[in-house]
Each structure stands twice: as structure tokens, then as C-alpha cells.
């Protein structure tokens, strides 16, 4: 892996067709120590860039020229077929649970799907990029909210607190992150997650990413 030589520096490909946003994203990524080796503005260039073997992650907009529909999404799916578990963070002006399902279908992790709005919270965005690069799954709260709302009836079994933990878990957060967010101890979060898994009859999983995928699969099912 090229990045084993530079443990702190990630090398990224960026695909975004709107010049202002492309410049802004490049600026934010570089400020966070992520090198943007190539920034492209259309799908064919993205396909070429994704063939490079000196990159660690791709950050792509869903809607790209030529058709301005779901080129970014298709590129993400295609590159992960050619290079299993290649980290891709998909950005969009709006999120759609249907597309989340397509991205998560492989069950491999190393995937992110966020609203472009989230980039404004620079630190959280950079953390998400790193999390995806390290094999994690990051899902926009809005996708999770849509899934949780759709499954509201079976979720009646959960307490208010447990539902909150489930939502944060589905977004791809670790126990530590959830504890920090909810201002409780990590042990308390662990208790909640155990309850959730028991109540929803989900297989227990030790590593964070598997856990996220199990929760998402249940929500989506």
C-alpha cells in the first residue's frame, strides 16, 4: 500500500463538476492533510483517474457530466467491483436510501454517503474521509433518519435512548464516538448496544464496521 510509506498523508481523487465546490473541497481536504492528486469534473475522467494505483480514496459527487444523473454512484460501484473494498466517499446535494442500498450492497465497508452540507463541518467531514479510508462505513444522518422512520413500528420495542444509540450507530459511529456525542460513558453505550442487538435479534459483531452493516441491513430489510 502506498500510504504505508506516508501514514499521515492520504492520497485522494476528487470528482465534482461545479468549479466552486471543486476548489472548496480541494482546499478543505488539503487543509486536513489529504493530498488531492487529481480533481476531475466528469465521469470519463473519473473512470481514468480511478484506474491509478497511487490513490487511497475517491471522493465523488453523485451527479456528474455527461448525463448529470448518477454517474458518480455508478463509478463508485464499478471501481469497487474492480478493486474490492476500495474506499469511496459519495457526496450529494440530496441523499436517497435507494442509493445507500446500492452502495452498501457489497457489505464490505470502506464506503461513505454524505450530504454535501456536511462538508461545512470541516473537522467532522475530514474525520469521515479518514474513517472511510480506514475501512469504516459512514452514512448521512438523513439516510438513517429515513430508514428509521420507515421502520418505526418494529422499533417501538426500543426505548428512546436505545433508538438514539441505534441512529448514531447506523451513521457509522463507534461506541466511543456515540458516548462522546450523548455525553455518557462508553460502558453505558455498550449496554445499550447489547440491548438493541438482543431486541432486534441481530448477530453480535465485535468490530465497528460489521456492526454498522448489520444494523443497516436490518433497517433496510
Amino acid at each position: 500500500m502506498p500510504d504505508s510509506l506516508r501514514p499521515d498523508s492520504l492520497r485522494a481523487v476528487l470528482a465534482e463538476d461545479q468549479a466552486l465546490l471543486r476548489v472548496g473541497l480541494t482546499r478543505i481536504l488539503e487543509a486536513g492533510g489529504i493530498e488531492v492528486v487529481e480533481a476531475v469534473d466528469n465521469a470519463p475522467s473519473l473512470a481514468r483517474a480511478l484506474a491509478r494505483d497511487d490513490i487511497d480514496i475517491a471522493v465523488v459527487d453523485v451527479r456528474l457530466p455527461p448525463t448529470h444523473t448518477t454517474e458518480g454512484l455508478e463509478a463508485a460501484t464499478a471501481v469497487r467491483e474492480a478493486r474490492p473494498a476500495f474506499p469511496v466517499l459519495v457526496l450529494s446535494q440530496w441523499v436517497e436510501p435507494l442509493y445507500a442500498r446500492q452502495l452498501l450492497a457489497g457489505g464490505e465497508g470502506s464506503i461513505g454517503y454524505l450530504l454535501k452540507d456536511r462538508v461545512a463541518d470541516v473537522d467532522a467531514f475530514l474525520a469521515a474521509v479518514r474513517q472511510v479510508a480506514e475501512g469504516g462505513t459512514v452514512l448521512d444522518p438523513e439516510v438513517v433518519a429515513a430508514l428509521v422512520t420507515a421502520r418505526s413500528r418494529p422499533l417501538d420495542r426500543l426505548t428512546e435512548r436505545e433508538r438514539e444509540v441505534l441512529t448514531l450507530m447506523a451513521e457509522g459511529r463507534s461506541n466511543a464516538a456515540i458516548a462522546a456525542r450523548m455525553v455518557v460513558t462508553e460502558k453505558a453505550v455498550g449496554k445499550h448496544t447489547n440491548n438493541i442487538f438482543a431486541k432486534l435479534d441481530l448477530p453480535q459483531a465485535s468490530d465497528d464496521n460489521r456492526r454498522v452493516l448489520a444494523v443497516l441491513a436490518w433497517l433496510d430489510g
Partner: protein
């Protein structure tokens, strides 16, 4: 064959081969002569109603008496012409529909060309029609009269007349079927739903649905304007103010400036949120990207009722996709709100010129097709000449069938 039920008397007219002289041919001509006699007999009520119609028009404006008279004459004419439509329709083996503009409300019939054609028919039936229908009867009955007289009154003069009227019988044999058919065809032309009338009706419907569509669009545009004004626009304005203020404070009070900038950033998120919901209401992005098939799938994922989707349709013109999408969304929203269903389904197919969608659920049924939701669906589809059928017996299940004629994109 000899069983003269009404059905057989009014069997379709066949011109056939007039040179074949058979018992069947004779019987057929005899029944047509009977029909012709019936047509001719209509002379009496036709003439009476024709004269009364003229009186109506003549008296109408002056005394108002004509208006009163019309209250009786117009329905009577409608009754008589309805009988003629049925008889002539049977003889031509097709249905003759009147094509009246609308039920007789007040004096609206005055403007209905179909009613005036009825009056024209009355005069025809009392004049030329009478003559043409009387002819077969006369051609047959004259020789018969001489025959009966020759047999009963025994005078050589009757025998001579009988021999001389031989050609009349021949003529009767040949002219009866074409004359009856000609009369039926003339009645169809005068009393039937004319092409012009049909087109006029259609134009009227198109005008109505266009007016409704325009109203609907104007209301939508106002709603979008209001949403943008109260939402994104206001928020972006406040971002501008906060950033401006932060710029001013950045040297004197950096902490306050940072707080303002943070607030501005959060407000841009809210503004984007607003814009997204406005866009979803206009044309959902997933519909633009994936067409009806993908969009309905996406829609089903967000529903609390498990919904199976089997929509296999190609890309259709964007306005049709949009109308169908919002119609389906409305139906599913009804299911979620009212049906208490445990499951719902959407099926859709396109056969080359019609899009057919069925939205169903296993809920309690009793959906009100005249409720605001379903009439909204009907109005959306009306603009495309589409149809909505609601089958929702109490106790369920509910089926809503949507149909839109269209070509592929």
C-alpha cells in the same frame, strides 16, 4: 324462421343477391315491408311534433308560452327519435348514440345542435322519409288489393288491373331492402352522434382540464414562491448579515466573530435543507435520474407499510413520469394514512401506448373516490387524458388503477 319476434323483425338488413328468389328472401322482404310501414306510420307523430316545434320557436320570444310548450315538445321529440335510433340501429347492426350536449337543463338544449337535428329529422320523417317508406308498402299492397277484389268481387277489370300491376311486385322485390336500408342510413346521419359533435365535446373537455391544469400550476408556482421566500431566501439573507457582522468584528472581537460565522454555517445547512424539500416537491431528483421504476422503488423504501414494487416501464416523457409519480405517491400516502394496511403493492407496465399502474393494499377499504386526495390524482392525470378507477369495497382490499396514454421518451 316464422317466429316473428321483435328481434327478427328488426334483424340487420342484408342486400344479398336480389336475383335469387327464395322463400327466405320473400319472408325477409315481407318483414322489411312491415318495418317500412312502421317508419311510414311515424309520419303522424313526426308531423305533429314538427309543427309544435315551429310553434315553440314562433311563440317563444314573444310570450314565453313557447318555452312552456318546449318543456313537453323537446322530451317528446327525444322519445320519438330514441325509438328511431333503436330501430335504425338494429337494422344497421350498430349503436346510434344521440350525442346530446348535456341533460336538458333549463333552455340549454337551445344551444345543442343535436336537438336541432332532431327537429330536422321530424320534418324529414313527415315528408321525404314518409314517401320513401310508403313506397314498398304501396308496391306490395296494391296488387294484393286487386287480387282480393278479383277473387271476391269477380269482375274482369280487377283481373286486368292485377295483371297490369305485375311489374309493381317485381319492383317491390327489388327496391324494398335498399329503401329500408337507405332510410336507416339517413336516420343514422341525422340522429347519430356526428364527428363534429364528438370533436366539440372533446374540445369542451380539453378546455375544462386545461383550465384546471392552469389553476393547479398557478397554485403550485405560488406555493413554491412562498416556500423559497420563507425558507432558503430568508436564511441566506441572514447568512449574509452574520458574515457581514463577523467581518466587522473580526479584529475587535474575534470570538464573537467566530460565533457569528458558526451560526452562519449552520444557517446555510438549514437553507440547503429547505431547498431540498422544495426540489422534492417540484421534481424529485431520483425521478429525473432513474425514471418511474427507480423513483417508485425509492418511494416504497420510505414507507412504514411494507410495499412491494413491480414497475417495469421504460423512460417516459418527464411530465408523464412526474404526474404518475405524484399520483402513486398520493395513493400510497392514502394507504398509510387511512387503510390500516399490513402490506401494499405497486405494479406498472407500459404496452407501447398506455401506461398502466395499479396501487393496492390489504387495508380496510372504503376509500372515497371523491375525497380531495383521489380527485387530486384524477386532476393530475386528466391533463394527460388519463383515467383513475378506484375499487375499494368496505372491508378492503383497495385497488386504484391509473392509466395514462403516452409515448416513450
Amino acid at each position: 324462421m316464422t317466429d316473428f319476434t321483435a328481434m327478427q323483425i328488426l334483424a340487420p338488413v342484408r342486400l344479398g343477391r336480389p336475383l335469387d328468389v327464395t322463400a327466405g328472401g320473400l319472408l325477409d322482404r315481407l318483414r322489411l315491408t312491415l318495418v317500412s310501414a312502421g317508419y311510414a306510420a311515424s309520419f303522424v307523430p313526426s308531423l305533429a311534433l314538427a309543427i309544435l316545434s315551429v310553434l315553440c320557436v314562433a311563440l317563444g320570444p314573444a310570450l314565453g308560452l313557447g318555452v312552456l310548450l318546449a318543456q313537453a315538445v323537446v322530451p317528446a321529440t327525444a322519445g320519438l327519435t330514441a325509438l328511431h335510433r333503436r330501430v335504425s340501429g338494429r337494422l344497421l347492426d350498430e349503436e346510434i348514440t344521440p350525442g346530446y350536449a348535456s341533460p336538458t337543463q333549463g333552455l340549454r338544449w337551445m344551444r345543442d345542435p343535436a336537438r336541432w337535428r332532431n327537429v330536422g329529422f321530424l320534418w324529414f320523417s313527415a315528408s321525404g322519409g314518409f314517401a320513401m317508406s310508403l313506397l314498398p308498402v304501396a308496391l306490395l299492397t296494391l296488387p294484393l288489393t286487386w287480387l282480393i277484389l278479383a277473387l271476391t268481387a269477380s269482375g274482369w277489370i280487377w283481373l286486368l288491373l292485377l295483371v297490369l300491376s305485375g311489374p309493381a311486385l317485381v319492383a317491390w322485390w327489388f327496391v324494398t331492402p335498399p329503401l329500408v336500408r337507405a332510410r336507416a342510413l339517413t336516420e343514422r346521419a341525422m340522429l347519430g352522434d356526428s364527428r363534429v359533435a364528438r370533436l366539440e365535446q372533446r374540445v369542451e373537455r380539453v378546455e375544462e382540464s386545461r383550465a384546471e391544469t392552469l389553476d393547479h400550476n398557478a397554485a403550485e408556482v405560488r406555493r413554491i414562491e412562498r416556500d423559497l421566500h420563507d425558507g432558503a431566501q430568508a436564511r441566506i439573507a441572514s447568512v449574509g448579515m452574520n458574515v457581514g457582522l463577523a467581518e466587522k468584528l473580526v479584529h475587535t472581537d474575534p470570538e464573537a466573530a467566530a460565533a457569528l460565522l458558526r451560526e452562519a454555517r449552520e444557517t446555510t445547512m438549514d437553507a440547503l435543507d429547505d431547498l431540498r424539500s422544495v426540489v422534492r416537491g417540484i421534481h424529485p431528483p431520483v425521478l429525473a435520474d432513474k425514471g418511474l421504476t427507480g423513483a417508485v422503488q425509492a418511494l416504497s423504501l420510505a414507507l412504514p407499510v411494507p410495499t412491494s414494487v413491480a414497475v417495469e416501464v421504460p423512460r417516459l416523457p418527464a411530465p408523464v413520469e412526474s404526474a404518475a409519480y405524484f399520483a402513486i405517491a398520493e395513493c400510497l400516502a392514502n394507504t398509510v394514512k387511512h387503510a390500516a394496511a399490513t402490506r401494499a403493492w405497486v405494479t406498472g407496465r407500459y404496452d407501447g401506448d398506455r401506461l398502466r399502474i395499479t396501487v393496492g393494499d390489504d387495508g380496510r377499504g372504503g376509500a372515497d373516490a371523491t375525497g380531495s386526495g383521489l380527485t387530486g390524482v384524477a386532476r393530475r392525470l386528466d391533463a394527460f387524458d388519463g383515467d383513475v378507477r378506484v375499487l375499494s369495497p368496505a372491508g378492503g382490499p383497495t385497488l386504484v388503477e391509473l392509466e395514462v396514454p403516452c409515448r416513450t421518451a
